[in-house]
Amino acid sequence: MKKITGAQAFIEALRCEGVTHAFGYPGGAVLDIFDAIMDARDIQFILSRHEQGAVHAADGYARASGRVGVCLVTSGPGATNTVTGIATAYMDSIPIVVFTGQVPTHLIGNDAFQEADIVGITRPCTKHNYLVKDVCDLGRAIKEAFYIARTGRPGPVLVDLPKNVMNSTVNFKYPESVNLDSYCPTYKGHQGQIRRIMGVILKSRRPVIYAGGGVTLADASRELAEFARKLKLPVTTTLMGMGAFPSGDPLSLGMLGMHGTYAANMTVTNSDCLIAIGARFDDRVTGKVDEFAPKAKIIHIDIDPTSISKNVKVDLPVVGDCRMVLRGMLAELAGKDGDLAEMIAQTEPWRREIDAWKEQQPLRYCRSEIIKPQYVIEMIDEIAPDDTIVTTEVGQNQMWTAQFYKFKEPRHFLTSGGLGTMGYGFPAAIGAQAAFPGRTVIDIAGDGSIQMNIQELATVVQYNLPVKVMILNNGYLGMVRQWQALFYKKRYSHTSMAVSPDFVKLAEAYGAKGLRVTRPEDVKDAIQEALRIPGPVFVDFVVDPEEDVYPMVPAGAPINNMLLV
């Protein structure tokens, strides 16, 4: 066996993991690795303009493709700049591995130049992390990092690589398997429990499925659709679950919770059997927890035991992989055609009630002379190809997208759900575009959010990633302004973006294309034009500055207590 350096071993390990793309930023502590990367032509490296952009890009790559996203940055500030991105991935259970440089082992703890205890800093926001102190441990650490990131409930893993470890030599052999006694996620749900929940579901009269991001992560959307259609169960999804069940399906209720649809919130509140699948009863979903689904028996399917009965007391839990459990549930239907027909007949009035809610209070907005942001999103949905990947920033742009873009497939909608990270959408779009160069990737942004990682314009131009950024420019931090309007007597404290750049000129300054739209009648043409242009485009839609997101459930109120348009 030939001796190679730690840096070369690192590249070899990435190859063994099938890594084809990495996002990052060089620096002193990772010079050896970057030197080795120059020879690794099979791994496409994308240089971001800020480390946060690199992590979000790795995250977007992972969400869009289902593969593990990889990020490589230097020590100290390079490492600390990744923290927001790591926390974002952690909250949404996204598999990424972040490699950070570190000062040489003999300097650790000495306050050396560009030293930060990144393992200490990221302990609470990673699924696990490693400091590799000996080059002999490098292969095992990387193998475990990828394994932990993508298995069980996925999540980010950080591996800290001191400089001297990477330039020392080793007889390298990448381990073939991992040996982790203390880590064995449960995939297969308990058979007896699955039988019990099917018994409860078949006897229910007002059932509803509440599906979350876990369905997408487990690639279980086909099974979910089969299950829901077979039992004629209405389905509401969380923000993270958008696309896990097709929006256009007659059984779809859209999103639930704070900005959920009237029908979804009413259905959940009046249900006698709530089937939570890969969802975690987030406060933005439940509103006032004591009054969430108060009449329902609560069934909860989740791969993470800690999610069960964390916020809401669960009557019938099943710990397991959503796809495997749904298959088990479908299998339980064998020979129960009579029960099934009976249940479908008995739940017919419930579905009619739900249809009436849908009809009474659909999502809507008032047209006007000024461009309405909702209209822009509807038009993007109408014009963009079916396989388009949409990312969003955080705030009104995100909620309107979730409400008005009809997602039909999983992994088509990438958004920071749990952490709510402004500045996520643009770099995430970079990651998605890198994974799928042939598909349309659109970031629906606000004028506030886009400025949080706008430096990545240089990245899209450099790598000719034809990301389309649709800025809903209302001159405000709109969601915060909305809360100020509703709950703080319209005292708009520091939410006016009084000075913003000219986004068209800015895009042009970076070598991208910029378009501006000020009239509703020009919206369609502008979107078509943006999609026709082969490279990256910024479209600045000057929209109604006072438009709010409705329905809205005030924080802490029960979810059937909605402010409607």
Partner: protein, 165 residues
């Protein structure tokens, strides 16, 4: 409700910080903590006493199990167990109280481990209640300082009521 939880972990740097960070980050309470290597030197045992309702305790156990370096979590409430902790008490012992202090020490089966003309240092092991009783009795005499270990627990070998032949 007070609860003792035994947590078997990998004997590695940083593991204590993961466990303690979990408690502080999620707002769980640690009343006492003791950590030491086990019979298998690759593993350490942490005994954590904590308080909380049933739901909180359930979360604590599940969250601990979720940590990659945690091998096993044992809730002592599920079994019969014996528990001990130790206290060292430095107490004023001047002419009129010297004999009294020794008498109390004798009653509790505490040991004198350091002597000075004006004080004794006593050591005592027992369960939490015994130690608290000891402190309560000594307080009027004048405790200069005390230091306590965390609780350690061990499951009883013979579980359940012993059947007499």
């Amino acid at each position: 409700m007070r609860h003792a939880i035994s947590v078997y972990v990998d004997n590695q740097a940083g593991v204590l910080s993961r466990v303690v960070g979990l408690f502080s980050g999620r707002g769980f309470n640690i009343e006492s903590l003791s950590v030491a290597p086990t019979l298998d030197p690759a593993k350490s045992l942490m005994v954590i006493t904590t308080t909380g309702n049933e739901q909180v305790l359930e979360q604590i156990k599940k969250q601990l199990n979720k940590l990659i370096n945690v091998i096993k979590v044992v809730d002592c409430a599920d079994r019969e167990y014996v528990e001990r902790e130790m206290i060292l008490v430095k107490i004023k012992a001047e002419k009129e109280t010297r004999a009294e202090v020794l008498r109390i020490a004798d009653i509790f089966r505490a040991k004198v481990i350091d002597v000075s003309p004006k004080s004794y240092t006593l050591s005592l092991t027992g369960d939490k209640r015994k130690l608290e009783g000891f402190v309560e009795i000594l307080t009027p005499i004048g405790i200069i300082d005390f230091v306590r270990t965390g609780t350690v627990v061990m499951a009883r070998e013979m579980q359940g009521r012993r059947k007499l032949p």
